[in-house]
Symmetry: C2
Subunit: 387 residues, 2 copies
Amino acid sequence: MNSSMKRVLMGPGPSDVDARVLEALSRPTIGHLDPAFIDILNQIRELLKYVFQTKNQMTIAMSGTGSAGMETCVANLIEPGDEMLVCINGVFGNRMADVARRYGATVNTIETEWGRVFEPEQIKQALEKNRVKVVGIVHAETSTGAHQPLEEISKIVHDYGALFLVDTVTSLGGAEVALDQWQIDAAYSGTQKCLSCPPGLSPVSFSERAVEILDKRKTKVQSWYLDLTMIRQYWGSERLYHHTAPVNMNYALFEALKIVKEEGLEKRWQRHQRNHKILKAGLSAMGIRYISQEGHGLPMLNAVAVPPGADDAKCRKQLLEEFSIEIGGGLGALKGKAWRIGLMGSACSESNVMLFLAALEKCLLDQSVTFDKGAGVAAAARAASEL
Amino acid sequence: MNSSMKRVLMGPGPSDVDARVLEALSRPTIGHLDPAFIDILNQIRELLKYVFQTKNQMTIAMSGTGSAGMETCVANLIEPGDEMLVCINGVFGNRMADVARRYGATVNTIETEWGRVFEPEQIKQALEKNRVKVVGIVHAETSTGAHQPLEEISKIVHDYGALFLVDTVTSLGGAEVALDQWQIDAAYSGTQKCLSCPPGLSPVSFSERAVEILDKRKTKVQSWYLDLTMIRQYWGSERLYHHTAPVNMNYALFEALKIVKEEGLEKRWQRHQRNHKILKAGLSAMGIRYISQEGHGLPMLNAVAVPPGADDAKCRKQLLEEFSIEIGGGLGALKGKAWRIGLMGSACSESNVMLFLAALEKCLLDQSVTFDKGAGVAAAARAASEL
C-alpha cells in the first residue's frame, strides 16, 4: 500500500478517522498497568458513559471489534439452557442468534422482512408464548439501514421480566442512544462507525440489573477472553491483570471520544440527520430507492437498491478506483442488490454527500443507466439550502 | 497523559515500539475489504510464516491480544468432551487449563515447580496414563522466565497421536520458534513482545493436521468471534466478511514484521541472547538471583527474586517515576517476590541494559539494600566487551 493512500470511507464502516485520532494512535506505547494508562482508561469510561447516556459503572471498551462486543454481552448474560429471544430483520440479528446458540442458549427468534422494524406488539406476542431471560435486538441494522425504535419495546421486555440487550454498533455517536432513559440492560458498539476511530475496540455497557445477573451466575463464562467477571477487576479499582489491553487503540478511542464531546451529542446527531436528508433528496431525484421502511431509515447508513441496469460490483469498483470513495455492497440476502452508503462520524459531511452524488452520476452514465442527469446533485443542493 | 510521554518498556510487554511502526499505525484508515488492505493481509501472512518458520497456509493475525490467540487455538481444536493435557509451570499454563475447561475439555494437568521446565519423560508418563487429543505447553513462561525445550516433547506427543499446541507469546521474534521443524500443530503469539508492535493482535498458525481436525469438527466452535472455520474465509481467497479487522493495527504489524525480516531472525535471536547475558552478568554481580532453572532462562524475560531488604513496589515505582523505566512485578505465586525484566524487540539493547542496571543501583542504594556498589554495571560492561 502506498503510505499516503487516502480513501473517502462512505461504506458501512470503518469511517474516516480524524487526523487528531491518528496522531493519538501513534503516541509511544506505554505499559497497560502504567498509572498514566489507567488514567486514560478511567477517562474513556467517563466519556463512554456520556455517549451511551448512562450512569452504568460497568461501561468499558472490550479488546476486540463490535462482534466481540456482541459476544461479550451474550457470553456474560447467558448460561447453558437459558432462553433468549432474538429479533431478526437482517444480518446482525442472525449473528446474535448464532452467537447465543453457541453459548448454550435455547434461542427463540422472531423475524420481520429485511428493511422493516419490529412493532412492540410482535415482541409482546413472542414473550407471551415463551418467557425468556434475555431479549436481543439491533438498534441500527447495518445490513438494511433500518432504525429500530426501542423505548416501547424495552417496557414490554421488562414487563415480562427479561433483560434487554441492544446492538448499537452503528448508531452510537450518530443517533440518539439513551441507555438509562430507555432502560437498556446491555449494549455494545464498535469504534469504527460514528465514533470515527479505527476498528479494534468495542464499547460495552451493563446496567445494574445485568451486573446482578452476572454476579449470580452458576457457571463460568464460556469465553475466558470476554469474561467480564475478570475484566471488571482490571477496569475496576483493583486494576488486576487480565489480558494486555490494546494500549494505542485506547489512545485513539480516548481522542475520538473527546472529539464527540467537543461537538456535543445532540449537534452530532443533527449533523448526521441533516446530511442524510441531503443525500436522500439527491438519491431520490436520481430514482434510487431506499430499502428501509419509510420513516425508519438510519441517518448514518443509507441502504438503497442498486438501480435497474447498473452493475453493482462495477460501480463500486469505479467509485473506489476513480474517486477513492468506498461504499458497501449488500450483505446476505441483499448481496448484489444493495448499496450501503455510510455517513458516519467524520465522513458525514455535506461535501462528501455532494462528491458521492457527482461520482455516482458519472459511474451510472458510464454504464448507460437511464436517469435524470444532474437531478441528484441539484436536488441535494436544494435540500442543503433549505435545511 | 502528556502526549510526549515516553517510557523505556522493560517489563513483560508491551515493549518499546519503533518509530516506523508508530508512523504506520497512524496512516489513514481504509476499508477492511479494500483490495489495498487485502494485499497487506496477504503480506502479513507471508511474514508471519517467516517468523514462525512454517509453510502453514493457515497463519493469520487474530483480532485480539495474545490471550485471544490462546483461546482461538483451544476453541478450534477442542470439542466438548475431548481430553486435553496441559503442562503447568506458571501463570500461562494455568490459564490454558482454565480456557480448555471452559470449552468443555476434560483437562488433565501435570505440574512442575515454577521456574523449572518439563522433562520429556514427564510428558510420556502422563500420556501413558491418559490418551489425549491435544497437549498444551508454554514455550516461554512469562511469569517465571523459563524457556521450555520443545522438539523432543513434540515427538512424544505425536507418538501418542495427539496434537501439539504451544504458547509462543513471549518467544516469537526473540528466540527460535520453528513450527515445521519442531512439528508444532498450533501456536499463538502476541504482537507486543519481541515483535515490538503495540498490543492488539495475535498471530496464530495451524498445521495441516490441525486444519484436518478443524474440518472434521462435529460441533460449531463455541466462540463465534474466534471461529477459524469462518475467519479463514476472510483470510482466504474468498475474502468473505466475518468481522471488521483492526485495520490500523494490521498496518503496524506489517511494519513491525518488515523490521524483523530486515534484521533477520537469527541476528535478532543473537541480539536477544547477547543482551540477556550482559544483563545477567550485571544482576549476578549485584547478588540478584534468577528464578528460572539454570540453563533454561529466557533471553527476553529475566525473572529474578527481589533481593532481601528491597521493597518490590517501591523500587518499581521509583524506576518508573525517576527513570521512566517500566519493569514487571511477580504474577500469581510470585507476587511481591519477583521482578520481570524484559529485553524484547526494540527494547532489547545494550544501552537499555546499562541504563537499567544504573537505575536499579540507585533505587537499591536509596533503600539501603546491601550489595557490592558499582559491581553490576562494571560486570555488565565487562561481559559486553567479551561477547
